[in-house]
C-alpha cells in the first residue's frame, strides 16, 4: 500500500464510489485502486479510533424484592418448563408417554407463590412471554415475577399487558392520607385508580364510594362499568344507595350491572321490589293431590321494571312474557320462596311440580339466582342427586350451568358429588364438572375417574376420546396415587371386539399419567424451602 495518500473526506469517497470513478474521479487518488486504498485507510483508522458514545438517561433501578430465591433444583425445573413451552406443539390424539410440561406451569407457579419465592431474574423474559400468550397464567406469573418483572415489562412494549393488570408498579399512597389519595384519584392512570379504589375500599367502604362519587358523572361509560364491577369484592349494604343511583345511569351496561349487584343484596329495597313482582307471578297451588307451583308470567314490562334493570326486548326466538318472568325470579332473593311455600326447604320447593310447563323456565331462573347470590343450599337442591341423569333432573341441562352451581358447594362435597356422578354416568359429560373440583382431587373422586377410564379401556374405545379428562387427571390427581396406578400401564391382551391396537395406546396414556404424577411430586419436593 502506498503511504502517501492525501486523505479525501469520507463522504467524498463514498460519493465517488457510488457514482464510479469514471464519472467522479477523486482528487489526488489514482483511479479505483487509489480510491480503495484511501477507503481502506479511512475504514481502519475510523474503527481503531472509535470513542464511547454519550450515555442516554438511565432507567431507575428495579425495586428490591425481599422474597427468598428459588432452590437450585426448582430453578432448573422452571427453566425446563418454560423452555418446553416454546417447543410444545398442539397435542393431537396421541401424545406419547412423556408428561406435557407446559400444562404443569400453572401448578408450579401456584406452589412457588404459596411458598413466596422470588423469580430468578434471568427467567423473567421467558416467564413474561409465557404469560403474554396464555392469559390463564397471568395472575400467578405476575405475582411470581414481582416488582422486577413489572420494572422489566415497562421497558418492553411486548409485555404491556403486565402493566394493565397492576397499579403500574407504582406504590399506592397510604389510604388514610386523604390528600395523596385525592391527588392520585384525580391524576392517576386508570389501572392505578382501580387499584387505589380497591385499597381504599378494603380500608373503608364508605370512603371509597365517596371518592368514586366525586368524579362519577365525568367518567367515561366503560370506566364507570369497570369501577362498578370492582365493587363486587366486599359488596355490602353500604353500597346500596350508590347502586340505586346507578340504576338510572346513562349507560345500559352500567344499569344492568348495578341491578345485578343489587340483587346480590337480599336486604336491599331493590331486592324487595323484585321479590314483590316475582311473588305476584309465582304462587302455591293447592289441588287435590298436593301442592304444585302456579306461574302467571307478567303481562307488561312497565317503566319501573325497566328502571330496575329488566330488559324489555327479548332476544329473538323467546316470548317476551317468559323473558320478563325469568329476569324477575333471577333477581329475587331466594329467601323469599320458603315463606311463600309454607316454610318448605329449597329441596322441597324444587321438587314441587310446576303447572303449565313452566318448570324449565322457573328452575333455570332459580339456578341463575343461586349463582348470583352464591347460595349453596339452593345450588344443592337444584343440582339434585348425582345419580339422576342430567336430562331428567330439576337442575339445568347445560353442563356449564351445572358446574357453576357445583362451584357453590363446599370443596369436599363438590368432589364427592362429581365422584358419584361419574360412577353413575361415566366420563362423557364429566369434563366441565371436573374442572370446578378442588385440586388435588380427593381420593374418592380420583378413584372414580381412574375406574371410569379403566372401564372405558375395557369397553374397547380409544384413549383420545377421553383426552380432555386424561389431561385433567394428569394435572389434578393426587401425585401420591402414582404407585397405585402403575398396574394400569401394562398392556393386557386384546379383549374380543376391542379396537385394534387400543390397548397399546391406553398403556401409553396411563404411562404418561403416572410419569406426570411422579414429575408433579418431584416438583412439589423441589419447591419446599430448604
Amino acid at each position: 500500500m502506498p503511504h502517501t495518500i492525501t486523505p479525501a473526506p469520507w463522504e467524498e469517497l463514498v460519493t465517488a464510489a457510488l457514482l464510479g470513478t469514471d464519472r467522479r474521479p477523486v482528487e489526488g487518488n489514482d483511479g479505483p485502486a487509489g480510491l480503495l486504498d484511501a477507503a481502506a485507510l479511512h475504514t481502519v483508522r475510523r474503527r481503531a479510533g472509535l470513542l464511547p458514545a454519550p450515555a442516554a438517561p438511565r432507567p431507575g433501578p428495579a425495586p428490591v424484592d425481599p422474597r427468598p430465591p428459588l432452590p437450585t433444583a426448582a430453578r432448573r425445573r422452571l427453566a425446563q418448563l418454560l423452555a418446553d413451552r416454546s417447543a410444545a406443539g398442539g397435542s393431537g390424539g396421541r401424545r406419547g408417554t412423556a408428561p406435557d410440561l407446559t400444562e404443569l406451569i400453572p401448578q408450579w407457579l401456584a406452589t412457588a407463590n404459596q411458598h413466596g419465592f422470588r423469580a430468578p431474574a434471568a427467567l423473567l423474559p421467558p416467564l413474561l412471554d409465557a404469560a403474554r400468550s396464555r392469559t390463564d397464567l397471568r395472575p400467578q406469573a405476575l405475582v411470581f415475577a414481582g416488582p422486577r418483572g413489572l420494572w422489566l415489562a415497562g421497558l418492553n412494549p411486548e409485555w404491556k399487558f403486565a402493566l394493565r393488570g397492576s397499579s403500574g408498579g407504582s406504590l399506592l399512597p397510604d389510604v388514610t392520607d386523604s390528600e395523596a389519595v385525592a391527588r392520585l384519584w384525580e391524576e392517576g392512570l386508570f389501572a392505578e385508580r382501580v387499584a387505589l379504589l380497591g385499597a381504599v375500599r378494603a380500608h373503608d367502604s364508605a370512603q371509597a364510594l365517596a371518592l368514586l362519587a366525586t368524579t362519577w358523572s365525568t367518567e367515561r361509560a366503560e370506566d364507570r362499568l369497570m369501577f362498578l364491577d370492582s365493587l363486587r369484592a366486599g359488596l355490602s349494604a353500604v353500597d346500596e344507595t350508590f347502586l340505586e343511583q346507578a340504576l338510572s345511569d346513562r349507560s345500559r351496561n352500567v344499569r344492568s350491572t348495578a341491578a345485578e349487584l343489587l340483587s346480590a343484596l337480599p336486604e336491599s329495597a331493590f331486592a324487595g321490589r323484585m321479590a314483590a313482582r316475582a311473588m305476584s307471578c309465582v304462587s302455591p297451588d293447592l289441588a287435590d293431590d298436593g301442592v304444585s307451583v302456579a306461574v302467571e308470567a307478567p303481562h307488561e314490562c312497565d317503566a319501573a321494571m325497566e328502571r330496575d334493570g329488566v330488559v324489555a326486548v327479548p332476544p329473538s326466538g323467546r316470548g317476551e312474557r317468559s323473558w320478563w318472568f325469568g329476569q324477575l325470579v333471577e333477581a329475587t332473593p331466594l329467601a323469599t320462596w320458603p315463606a311463600r311455600f309454607g316454610g318448605r326447604t329449597a329441596q322441597e320447593i324444587v321438587a314441587l311440580p310446576v303447572a303449565d310447563g313452566w318448570a324449565e323456565e322457573l328452575h333455570a331462573a332459580w339456578c341463575r339466582a343461586a349463582v348470583r347470590q352464591r347460595d349453596p343450599e339452593w345450588a344443592r337442591a337444584l343440582l339434585g342427586a348425582p345419580s339422576v341423569p342430567p336430562s331428567t333432573g330439576p337442575g339445568p341441562a347445560s353442563l356449564a350451568e351445572r358446574s357453576e352451581l357445583l362451584a357453590l358447594l363446599p370443596a369436599a362435597e363438590r368432589g364427592a358429588w362429581v365422584a358419584a356422578f361419574i360412577a353413575a354416568h361415566g366420563l362423557s359429560e364429566a369434563f366441565q364438572l371436573l374442572g370446578v373440583c378442588p385440586t388435588p382431587w380427593s381420593e374418592p373422586l380420583g378413584r372414580s375417574v381412574v375406574d371410569a377410564l379403566d372401564i372405558a379401556r375395557d369397553a374397547g374405545s380409544y384413549p383420545w376420546s377421553f383426552s380432555g379428562v386424561m389431561g385433567l387427571a394428569e394435572r389434578c390427581l393426587n401425585p401420591a396415587e402414582a404407585d397405585r396406578l402403575e398396574v394400569l400401564t401394562t398392556t393386557p391382551d386384546e379383549p374380543e371386539n376391542a379396537s385394534p391396537g387400543a390397548n397399546g395406546y391406553w398403556s401409553e396414556a396411563f404411562q404418561r399419567l403416572v410419569s406426570t404424577l411422579r414429575l408433579r411430586a418431584a416438583m412439589d419436593l423441589e419447591l419446599i424451602p430448604g
Partner: protein, 477 residues
C-alpha cells in the same frame, strides 16, 4: 510446565452436571430438541445411572418391546444408542442427558453396566493411549505429517499460486466495480457476488469467498449501505493487496493474512495450561455447515481463547463445554489474528462448576482494546472484552451499556437487539451494575455472558446458568 505426563487425573468427584440449556444446545435440529425434551423425564427410563468419570446410561422404552440402550460419554461428548435414528445425538441421548441434567435420582451413581461396556471402555482406552503420546501440538504435526515433504511443498506452492490468481481476479472485479460505481452493483444484485464467490472457492481461497458473499448482502441491508459496502470492498482490497505482497510483510501479519484468505495453519507452540472459564458457546449456521464458537478465559494467564469446531449436515459440532464451568486444560494457539483461536488439548480432572467473571474494565477500555487489536489484524470485526460495572440503558431504538461510574456508553450491536439474550441481560441487571462479556467491534458490543453483582448471582438470579451450584454466569446466547 507439565506436571503429570500420561493419564489425566480422573478424580472420584462426580463430573459437573450440565444444564438443560447446554443439553438442548447439542440437538442437531428443532425436531430433535422437541423429541428429546419429551423424553427428558424419568417416565420412559429404567436401569439408568452415571459414574464419576462422565458416563451416563439408561434404557428408554420405545414403541417396541425391547428398550433402546443409550450411553453418553459426557467428556467427549460422544453418544451411542441402539435406536435406528440417523440423527446425532438422537432424541434418546438428549432425553437421557436432560434427565441427568435435572438431577433426578433416577440416575444413581454406580458401576457401568455390561451392555455399555465395550464401547465405553474402548473409548476410554483410546483416550488414554492418545494421552500417552506427546502433547497434541507435536503429536498433531508428526502423526498426520506428510509422508513426502517435497510433494507437500509442491502442493502448497500450487495452492498459493491459485490463490494469487484468485486475488488478482478479485482485484480486477473490485476496480471494475468502482469504476462503474456501487449504485450499479445494487441493480446487478446478488448474482454477481455469488458468481465471484464461486470463483474464489475454485481458487481455493475460502476466506475470500466468504467475504465476497458478505458483500452481496450489504446492498439490501437498509439505509447507509453504500458506505458499508465501500468499507467492506476496501478491506477486501486491502486483503488482496496484502496477499499479493505477502513476502514483504512481517511474519505475524503474514500469518494473519494467510488465515484470512483461508489457508488454515495448524496450532503450534508450547501448550498453555490454565484454569479456563467457559464464557460462551454458540453456533452460527452457514450453508450446510454449522460453526461453533466457544470462548474461554484463562484465570492465571488472563488471556482469552476461542475454540472453533464444525458440524456438517445435521450433526452438531463435536465439541461442547458447559458454559459457566472452569476446566483445567491445555490449549494451543493458532498463529495470526491476534492468536485468539486455539485448539483444546488435554483436560485434567473434571470441570469445576464455579467461576468468577474475568476482571473487566470500562467502556473506554473495551473500545480501546478493539482498536489496539486492529493493529495486528485490520480485518478484525470484533474483539473479546469484559466490561465491569455497566448498566444496560435503552437509547433510541437500541440499547447501550453505560459505565456505572461514568457517562461513557457502548452501544449494543444491532444483531444483539433481536435476541432473547438482550432481555435476559436487562432482567439480570434490573437497572443496577452488572459485569458483561461480549464481542466488541465497530458495530458495538454483542453481549454473550453476564454476571450480576448482588448476592442474587450466588443462588438466585443465575437462572439457568450453571451446572450444579450456581456459578453465576448467565448465558446470553
Amino acid at each position: 510446565m507439565l506436571l503429570s505426563q500420561g493419564e489425566p487425573l480422573r478424580t472420584a468427584a462426580p463430573a459437573a452436571r450440565w444444564t438443560v440449556e447446554q443439553v438442548l444446545a447439542l440437538a442437531p435440529d428443532e425436531a430433535s430438541r422437541r423429541a428429546g425434551s419429551k423424553l427428558g423425564s424419568t417416565g420412559p427410563w429404567s436401569g439408568g445411572g452415571c459414574d464419576g468419570s462422565g458416563a451416563v446410561w439408561g434404557l428408554c422404552k420405545g414403541s417396541g418391546s425391547k428398550p433402546y440402550q443409550t450411553v453418553v460419554d459426557t467428556t467427549g461428548p460422544a453418544y451411542k444408542c441402539s435406536c435406528p435414528s440417523r440423527k446425532f445425538p438422537c432424541k434418546h441421548a438428549l432425553g437421557l442427558l436432560l434427565v441427568w441434567a435435572s438431577g433426578e435420582s433416577a440416575l444413581p451413581t454406580g458401576e457401568v453396566p455390561d451392555w455399555t461396556g465395550e464401547w465405553l471402555t474402548g473409548r476410554r482406552k483410546r483416550a488414554a493411549e492418545k494421552e500417552g503420546k506427546d502433547g497434541p501440538a507435536a503429536g498433531g504435526a508428526s502423526a498426520t505429517g506428510p509422508a513426502d515433504p517435497e510433494a507437500a511443498r509442491r502442493r502448497a506452492e500450487r495452492r498459493a499460486e491459485r490463490i494469487t490468481g484468485g486475488a488478482q481476479e478479485l482485484e480486477q472485479r473490485l476496480t471494475d466495480l468502482l469504476r462503474g460505481g456501487l449504485a450499479a452493483a445494487d441493480q446487478s444484485g446478488y448474482g454477481l457476488w455469488e458468481e465471484t464467490a464461486a470463483r474464489m472457492v475454485d481458487a481455493q481461497a475460502p476466506g475470500l469467498a466468504a467475504r465476497v458473499r458478505e458483500l452481496g448482502s450489504i446492498p439490501a441491508s437498509g439505509p447507509g449501505w453504500p458506505a458499508r459496502l465501500l468499507e467492506e470492498c476496501a478491506l477486501l482490497h486491502l486483503l488482496d493487496s496484502a496477499w499479493l505482497g505477502i513476502s514483504r510483510l512481517p511474519e505475524p501479519l503474514a500469518a494473519t493474512v494467510r488465515t484470512r484468505v483461508g489457508l488454515t495453519a495448524s496450532a503450534e507452540g508450547p501448550p498453555i495450561r490454565d484454569k479456563w472459564l467457559v464464557l460462551a458457546q454458540y453456533d452460527t449456521p452457514d450453508g450446510k455447515i454449522v460453526t461453533r464458537r466457544i470462548w474461554l478465559h484463562g484465570r492465571d494467564s488472563g488471556r482469552a481463547a476461542m475454540l472453533l469446531s464444525f458440524g456438517a449436515a445435521g450433526r452438531s459440532p463435536g465439541l461442547a463445554l458447559p458454559v459457566g464451568v472452569t476446566i483445567d486444560a491445555e490449549i494451543t494457539p493458532y498463529p495470526g489474528m491476534g492468536r485468539l483461536r486455539a485448539e483444546l488439548g488435554r483436560q485434567f480432572g473434571v470441570p469445576s462448576p464455579a467461576g468468577t467473571p474475568p476482571p473487566g474494565g470500562t467502556v473506554a477500555a473495551a473500545i480501546a482494546a478493539y482498536g489496539h487489536a486492529l493493529r495486528d489484524d485490520p480485518w478484525l470485526d470484533t474483539w473479546p472484552v469484559t466490561l465491569h460495572e455497566v448498566i444496560p440503558v435503552p437509547s433510541g431504538n437500541g440499547w447501550q451499556l453505560v459505565d456505572a461510574a461514568g457517562e461513557a456508553a457502548l452501544p449494543l450491536a444491532p444483531s444483539a437487539l433481536s435476541r432473547p439474550g438482550l432481555w435476559k441481560l436487562v432482567a439480570l441487571s434490573g437497572g443496577s451494575p452488572v459485569t458483561v462479556f461480549g464481542e466488541c467491534g465497530h458495530r458495538g458490543l454483542d453481549p454473550l455472558a453476564a454476571w450480576s453483582a448482588d448476592g442474587d448471582g450466588a443462588a438466585g438470579s443465575a437462572g439457568i446458568s450453571s451446572a450444579d451450584t450456581a456459578s453465576g454466569t448467565v448465558r446470553l446466547i
